[in-house]
Point group: C2
Chain length 201, copies 2
């Protein structure tokens, strides 16, 4: 039974995920989260006193999951070009991915309010650093393998890839234009591969 | 006195601007806007019945201003390279630009809630189209002048420029990292100029 606090915390995170996807971040209440949580509301309040505090923990949980996902993302893909392409295309959100769309909308709301919440801001910085580090590694591996121009600035290109696809995804989920992010991904990859002296396919 | 309704509407837009910069979009109330408005609160309610309706009109007003700004932005700058550089760098927000930072934070909040408000969503699409059209024109003018590779896809590059800098600005205003957007602008311009067979300076 030593896992019980961790199980409870995980159940709270899952309830928060469900509630925020349904109601959005601005409108979601502790009661909405309690409604998704099959244990007592007092247990929720015992673990997290305020919505701000709960959301700091929730975002940390999401970024932990993101970190694991980043490790697996290009598993089994061998060519450096394909690994980079896979990574960049991961940021596109398909029209059928309604839960993922809702989550990214809620994350945008949280981000627009990050200046009020130090812990939330730190987690956004952390997820940004993780994604940039993962792309930097992909590019450096491609350079080491002789597939990419060794003189290119891997960190600067990783920052460009991240911020472009983050912006494209935000644009797509908010104004709901199917295909926007994948169009951007194509142009971005064309310019990146050109800069890396690498064939596009 | 035929200008009175237009003057009143402009005063309402200015009051909304002040209130949203102070309180943010999620938290601002009609009362906060009335507090910034030196005419009567009933006049505000007469013009705009709900916060949603007022914000649809407010965003339209901002996009109108944006459209005028886009026309003037590269006025007096002759070289196609410098015009593109000027445009891309316009998206960076300096740490001293506190009002502009507040406005972009409020716009991000509005955008994250755009799926609930058709008029807001339309205005975001309109501002996106305007910016992309302006960059497309800059690139096509550079192609016509022989400065840029005529085979490059001006519209795709314009979309990339817009979404990258929009994402970089959003990132910078939310996690408050000075210099982030200008670093991204440098890398973006390097790749764009390379693709356009144009010297970077």
């Amino acid at each position: 039974m030593t896992d019980e606090p961790a199980d409870t915390e995980l159940a709270i995170m899952e309830a928060t995920f469900e509630a925020v996807c349904k109601h959005g971040y601005a409108d979601v209440t502790m009661q909405d989260i309690a409604d998704e949580f099959d244990k007592s509301k007092s247990l929720l309040h015992y673990h997290h006193h305020t919505k701000e505090e709960l959301f700091g923990a929730f975002l940390e949980h999401l970024v932990d999951q993101y970190e694991e996902k980043l490790d697996d993302l290009v598993e089994g893909v061998d060519s450096p070009n394909e690994r980079l392409r896979e990574f960049v295309n991961w940021f596109t959100v398909g029209p059928e991915e309604t839960e993922r769309t809702s989550l990214h909308l809620a994350l945008l709301e949280m981000r627009s309010q990050a200046q009020h919440n130090q812990k939330v801001r730190e987690q956004f910085r952390r997820s940004d650093s993780l994604a940039r580090a993962a792309i930097t590694t992909l590019i450096k591996e491609g350079q080491a393998a002789g597939s990419f121009n060794p003189d290119a600035d891997a960190a600067a290109l990783a920052q460009l890839c991240f911020v472009t696809m983050d912006g494209a995804r935000a644009r797509q989920v908010t104004v709901d234009e199917t295909g926007y992010a994948s169009e951007v991904a194509e142009t971005l990859l064309e310019l990146i591969f050109e800069h890396l002296d690498a064939p596009g396919e």
